[in-house]
């Protein structure tokens, strides 16, 4: 797995299946509404939120535009602080480095703090193949792991599950991998969280090696930052002897004071809190306190590909707050699995193609998984203009087909022909006039034979066959008027005669 779930169908097909799952739709609608309201309340509390967004966007943009310098600085400061720095070109290299550290310490298990980067590189599966168990310790990740499920949200990977389903998963599976769930397990969230606490505590206490990601990496001080809520992060970052952090190279900010804007933007955008319960920062090794062997794996895995894209580069500013998912009307209805990646929602729809290219059908379908309503851009704390990047990635998809001599799929071909025909028609108003006459004729035919009338009296087409079926399956289509505006203008001299 390198970012996208293997064997996922393209978005429209996956979405259709997801839409049919009414339980999941109810869970998602409830959860996204809750978090949207919380975010809106704490954002409204900040006097100059827009100023903060501008600062946050600039901090990340500046770091990206001089990334090589900052990475070298980061490596230096980390090394000075006693950390061991590794570099990984891709998922495979990164997984191999982590596995090697585990092997060096002779362990057959590691504890993990939730991290998007390790999900992206498929670390758990890679470690499992080496006989090393990776225990997820974030509650939602634990739910996903125990349920043999896939994550569907950046912040709350089990957002698609409700409390009753979670109780069932805990009851059924906890005993297989450690301390079983208590007999009296109810579906009260407090009780479920308590069960996770008991289940994981023995793992924290005995773990020798922990794996984390990082929300930020400060170049000039060699400081890594993990932002969390439950305390599982603190457990992993503090108790084991060895800590390996897998950090995407885009997580770099230049200076310690750059964290100011980020630490104010992230919790409000993410969990809708003024500040998340726990933020841990550490710079290498602190003698006598916490892990005494600290590794940092700097990961590319497609990031330099995205960095080279002048429009798409801004996607690397993302701080994985998931606000764009929570406001997205498409995400709210279809959920995260349909995107086929650990990065779902609007950010996933641009990040996956930017990281991996659009050569496979599934990734190529993602930039179209949006109505371009712009709600994501409006909430993004680092002002990523997701709609513009989506449109640009659509162009990348179309351009990737331009040289095709054999159509890769029928629908691409049809669309390309239709678009070329439309462009031809719209390039010259005389051609458009002819097209409108033809549609006016069609309108007269519909007007004569249709039994559907819109409120207000206009004739409409009901269910139509062929290419119009996509529209008319659930929507009536007004019949084209007999006379276009342009014909009316000419006939009446703009209504003057």
């Amino acid at each position: 797995m390198s970012g996208t779930f293997v064997g996922m169908p393209a978005f429209p097909t996956a979405a259709r299946e997801a839409l049919a799952d009414t339980q999941q739709r109810r869970n998602l609608a409830h959860a996204t509404r809750t978090i949207r309201d919380k975010r809106a309340a704490v954002v409204a509390e900040v006097e100059d939120w827009e100023g903060l967004r501008l600062a946050g966007a600039a901090v990340k943009e500046a770091a990206l535009r001089d990334l090589a310098t900052h990475l070298e600085t980061l490596e230096e400061s980390l090394t000075r602080a006693g950390a061991i720095v590794h570099w990984a070109r891709d998922a495979e290299e990164a997984c191999a480095i982590v596995a090697q550290v585990a092997r060096d310490h002779g362990v057959d298990e590691v504890v993990k703090v939730k991290s998007m980067a390790t999900g992206e590189i498929g670390l758990n599966e890679a470690l499992e193949a080496e006989g090393i168990a990776a225990w997820e310790t974030d509650l939602a990740e634990l739910i996903v792991q125990l349920g043999d499920d896939l994550p569907s949200h950046i912040l709350v990977p089990a957002i698609h599950r409700n409390r009753a389903e979670i109780r069932e998963i805990f009851r059924r599976r906890m005993g297989d991998v450690g301390r079983p769930a208590p007999e009296a397990l109810t579906d009260d969230p407090g009780v479920l969280a308590g069960a996770a606490r008991e289940h994981l505590r023995e793992k924290f206490l005995r773990a020798k090696v922990a794996v984390s990601g990082a929300n930020f990496a400060v170049a000039d001080t060699g400081t890594l930052v993990v932002v969390e809520s439950e305390g599982n992060g603190r457990m992993c970052l503090t108790l084991p002897e060895v800590l390996v952090s897998v950090v995407g190279i885009e997580k770099v900010v230049a200076t310690w004071s750059d964290l100011d804007a980020m630490l104010r933007l992230l919790p409000r955008s993410s969990t809708g809190e003024r500040m998340n319960p726990y933020t841990s920062t550490w710079s290498g090794v602190t003698p006598g306190d916490g892990p005494q062997e600290v590794h940092v794996v700097l990961l590319d895995n497609g990031r330099t590909r995205a960095l080279a894209d002048d429009v798409g580069r801004q996607a690397l500013r993302c701080i994985r707050c998931s606000a764009c998912l929570n406001v997205c009307p498409v995400y709210e209805r279809v959920g995260g699995h349909a995107y086929g990646s650990v990065y779902p929602g609007p950010i996933g729809a641009i990040l996956n193609p930017l990281l991996h290219g659009v050569s496979d059908e599934q990734t190529a379908s993602l930039p179209y998984a949006s109505s371009l309503c712009g709600a994501c851009f409006e909430v993004c704390p680092v002002r990523i203009d997701i709609p513009s990047v989506l449109v640009d990635q659509r162009a990348a998809v179309v351009d990737s087909h331009r040289g095709d001599r054999v159509p890769r799929s029928g629908s691409h071909w049809q669309e390309a022909v239709a678009m070329k025909a439309a462009a031809w028609t719209f390039s010259d108003s005389r051609r458009l006039r002819w097209a409108e006459r033809a549609s006016g004729l069609a309108g007269r035919v519909i007007g004569r034979f249709s039994r559907t009338t819109l409120p207000g009296g206009r004739a409409a087409a009901g269910r139509l066959p062929g290419p119009a079926a996509g529209w008319t399956g659930a929507r009536d289509l007004p019949a084209p008027p007999p006379e276009s505006f342009r014909e009316w203008w000419d006939r009446t001299d703009g209504g003057r005669s």
Binding site: H30, E47, L139, V156, E230, L259, D300
Partner: protein, 194 residues
């Protein structure tokens, strides 16, 4: 070519012709909200943490009351007498797990967000001791309270490990319903002196 050199080369190539100059506007500051300490108390309480304000000479008694029957661990440099407490001398995680409570001081309190920050000097102790026990009694001096995040960033030393704490451990992973108390201390009791 090493992975390191390869990645740095790719980064340079990706940014070829891209100007590194980006103007970073100063992040806006929160407006003056008057009494910082009062705001700090209000915001800490918003997280369903317990806050007790007291004078310096009441501190020992307040800590005693906060602990009740709980068996506590304290860092070596706490500077407050806690009767019966174990002074941390490198206790193992399992030993800490058998202890109910911890008493520490803090480095900074942030009023705007109701956050306390520990920089784990001897009056706060190693990170593990304020993590494993279920009750954290944290003593903050009123003079340590700053207005907002940038003020905290300015006084904190990034070379030290830092733990920013805003209320007790919590999760919203089940239906985005907030529940206090997962792996970190389930009860946070802030004692504000002065």
């Amino acid at each position: 070519m090493s992975a390191r050199d390869d990645i740095l080369r790719r980064v340079r190539e990706a940014l070829d012709g891209v100007s590194p100059a980006v103007e970073i506007p100063a992040a806006p500051r929160a407006p003056d909200r008057g009494d910082l300490v009062a705001l700090f108390v209000e915001r800490v309480e918003d997280y369903r943490a317990i806050v007790t304000r007291c004078a310096a000479d009441e501190l020992e008694q307040v800590v005693r009351d906060a602990l009740g029957e709980a068996r506590a661990v304290v860092p070596p440099g706490l500077g407050v007498e806690v009767a019966g407490a174990t002074v941390d001398d490198g206790l193992t995680a399992t030993e800490l797990d058998a202890i109910d409570a911890v008493v520490t001081r803090a480095a900074v309190g942030i009023a705007e967000t109701g956050t306390i920050v520990l920089d784990h000097r001897p009056d706060q102790g190693r990170r593990a001791i304020s993590l494993v026990p279920d009750l954290h009694v944290c003593i903050v001096d009123a003079s340590q309270v700053v207005a907002d995040v940038p003020d905290a960033i300015a006084v904190l030393d990034p070379a030290r490990p830092l733990t920013w704490i805003s209320g007790p451990s919590a999760t919203s992973d089940i239906e985005l319903d907030r529940v206090e108390g997962v792996h970190g201390p389930r009860t946070l009791h802030v004692v504000l002196v002065g």
